[in-house]
C-alpha cells in the first residue's frame, strides 16, 4: 500500500492541468517508476498525485511533412525503442531508451518522467540534447516551448511550473538529417543501474571535415551538459586523430564533474575523456570514417 493523501486520474490534458491547478502540492504521475519508489521510501513531496498515465494527448511519436519529429511525454521507453520513426531517423534516442533499467522498467517508464525528474543522469537527456530537442509544456496560461538545455535548472530541478505538464518534445528535421550520433552509458552494472557517466556525440560531416559536432554528458555537472567550447573548436577540423586529441584535451573545460559516493572526481575525468573519444569514434564509424587516437 502506498502512502499518499490524494489521487485523481486525468482523462484529458485539460483535466490534468485543472486538477494540478486545484492543488499546488500535486505532482503528475506517469509511469511511476520514480515517484512510486520514492513513496515506498517515505518521501514527503509526492503525497498528492494527478495520474496522467492514460491521457491520450501525451502518447506517441509522429513526424510532420517538414520532418519535425514529435515525441509525446507519455511515450514509454519500450515504445521509443521500437518506434520506426525513432529507429529510422533518431536511433541515438533508441540507444538511450534501451539503456534504462531493465525490460519491465522500460515498459512502464516514460521519457517525460525521465526528464521532469530532473536527474543529471537521465539516459534520454544526452541523446535529446544532441538532437537540440525542445520541450513543450502546457499549463493554465497556455503553451510554451524552450530548449531542453534551458529546461534543466539544477540537480533535480527543472523549469516546470506547478500546474504545467510537459506534453512532449520537438526535434527539427535539420537537427537530425545528415547527423550521425551515438550514446554510451558507463555504469557499474550492465543493466538496472544509473549512469556513472553518460556520453552522447553527434557529428555532421562535409566530406572528411566536421561541419558540426554536438557533445553531451550526463553526471558530469549539476545538469546534463553540452560541451559548447569543444564543439566550436571542432568545426572545420578534419575527422582524424588530431580531432580526437583535441576532444580529449578540451572536453573537461566544458564540464564540472565532482566527487560523489558513486565515483571520485579523478575517475570521472578519466571516464569523460575516454568516452568522448570513443563515442565520437563510434559516431564517425557510422559515417564510414575509422579514426583512432594516437596515444
Amino acid at each position: 500500500m502506498f502512502d499518499f493523501d490524494s489521487y485523481h486520474q486525468a482523462r484529458s490534458l485539460d483535466e490534468a492541468i485543472a486538477l494540478l491547478a486545484q492543488n499546488p502540492r500535486a505532482v503528475p504521475l506517469a509511469g511511476g517508476t520514480d515517484i512510486l519508489v520514492r513513496l515506498h521510501q517515505g518521501h514527503p513531496d509526492y503525497r498528492h498525485l494527478v495520474d496522467i498515465h492514460d491521457v491520450p494527448e501525451l502518447h506517441g511519436v509522429t513526424r510532420d511533412r517538414k520532418g519535425t519529429i514529435w515525441i509525446g511525454s507519455g511515450t514509454t521507453f519500450s515504445e521509443i525503442m521500437e518506434d520506426p520513426l525513432v529507429t529510422g531517423h533518431i536511433p541515438v534516442l533508441a540507444q538511450g531508451a534501451g539503456s534504462v533499467g531493465g525490460p519491465q522498467v522500460r515498459n512502464m517508464a516514460t521519457v517525460g518522467g525521465n526528464l521532469c525528474n530532473g536527474a543529471p543522469s537521465a539516459d534520454s537527456a544526452g541523446p535529446l540534447l544532441v538532437l537540440n530537442a525542445r520541450v513543450v509544456l502546457q499549463g493554465p496560461k497556455g503553451e510554451r516551448e524552450l530548449p531542453l538545455e534551458e529546461f534543466y535548472q539544477g540537480p533535480g530541478k527543472v523549469d516546470r511550473q506547478p500546474a504545467e505538464i510537459m506534453t512532449g518534445l520537438r526535434i527539427a528535421g535539420d537537427d537530425y538529417r545528415c547527423w550521425s550520433a551515438h550514446y554510451t552509458k558507463y555504469a557499474m552494472r550492465e543493466a538496472m543501474d544509473i549512469a556513472t557517466i553518460g556520453c552522447t556525440a553527434a557529428v555532421k560531416l562535409e566530406g572528411r571535415q566536421v561541419a558540426g559536432l554536438r557533445l553531451a554528458f550526463t553526471v558530469a555537472g549539476p545538469t546534463p551538459l553540452r560541451c559548447r567550447s569543444t564543439e566550436a573548436k571542432a568545426r572545420g577540423m578534419a575527422a582524424n586523430a588530431q580531432l580526437l586529441d583535441m576532444i580529449n584535451d578540451s572536453v573537461l573545460n566544458d564540464l564540472r564533474p565532482r566527487d560523489s559516493w558513486r565515483a571520485a572526481k579523478a575517475f570521472r575525468e578519466q571516464i569523460i575523456r575516454t568516452l568522448a573519444v570513443r563515442v565520437l569514434g563510434q559516431a564517425l564509424k557510422s559515417c564510414d570514417i575509422h579514426v583512432e587516437k594516437d596515444s
Binding site: G101, G102, Q104, V105, N107
Partner: protein, 179 residues
C-alpha cells in the same frame, strides 16, 4: 482514502474488484489469491513480482491497482492449461532453471513475453536473452538454466533434456565428469 471499483481480466477470467487507490497491483493480485506473484523488493529492482499487463512484462509492485482497469493480467497460475504446463514452464523444468523457486514465477512471465515476441523471428543471441531478462534477479541458479530454457523454447526442434538425465550441475551430459 478513496476506493474504486475496477473491472479487469486475470488469466482469462473477468474480475470486478473494489480497490483502495493506494494499493499496488501486487497487493491486489495476492489479495485475489494469485500468490505466485511475489514481493521481493517492492521497488522494481528484482522482478519477482513480474506479471504481464496486456502482454507486456511489468513489475506489479510499481503498478497502481487502479491502472489495471480494463486490462488483461497474466500470472503463472494461468499459464498451465488442464494441468498441462506451458512450453516455458516445461522448459524451466527440463533445463533445471528452478532451485528455491522464489524468483521463478516472475522469470517465467518475463520469458513468456520474450518467447511470444521472438518466436519464429530468427536466431536470438544469448546476449539478447540475458539483456531482456535483466529485470529479474535469481540468487540460486546462476541463470545458465534460464538461458537454455529460453533457447529451448525458441528452437522448436531442439531435443529436450530428459528429466532423468538432468543433474544439478546443468552441464550437458557429455561434459560431466565421469563418476
Amino acid at each position: 482514502m478513496t476506493t474504486q471499483k475496477i473491472s479487469l481480466t486475470i488469466n482469462g477470467k473477468p474480475a470486478t474488484c473494489e480497490v483502495d487507490v493506494r494499493q499496488s497491483l501486487l497487493d491486489l493480485l495476492r489479495e485475489q489469491g494469485y500468490t505466485s506473484v511475489k514481493e521481493g523488493c517492492g521497488v522494481g529492482e528484482c522482478g519477482a513480482c513480474t506479471v504481464l499487463v496486456d502482454g507486456k512484462a511489468m513489475d506489479a509492485c510499481l503498478c497502481l491497482a487502479v491502472r489495471a482497469a480494463g486490462r488483461h493480467i497474466r500470472t503463472t497460475e494461468g499459464e498451465s492449461e488442464n494441468g498441462q504446463l506451458s512450453a516455458v514452464q516445461q522448459a524451466y523444468l527440463d533445463t533445471g532453471a528452478v532451485q528455491c523457486g522464489f524468483c521463478t514465477p516472475g522469470l517465467i512471465m518475463t520469458s513468456t513475453a520474450f518467447v511470444e515476441k521472438h518466436a519464429g523471428r530468427g536466431k536470438v543471441s544469448r546476449e539478447t536473452i540475458r539483456r531482456e531478462h535483466a529485470g529479474n534477479l535469481c540468487r540460486c541458479t546462476g541463470y545458465e538454466g534460464l538461458v537454455r530454457a529460453v533457447e529451448q523454447c525458441l528452437e522448436a526442434k531442439a531435443e529436450p533434456v530428459q528429466p532423468a538425465d538432468a543433474c544439478a550441475c546443468n552441464l550437458p551430459k557429455a561434459d560431466r565428469q565421469k563418476d
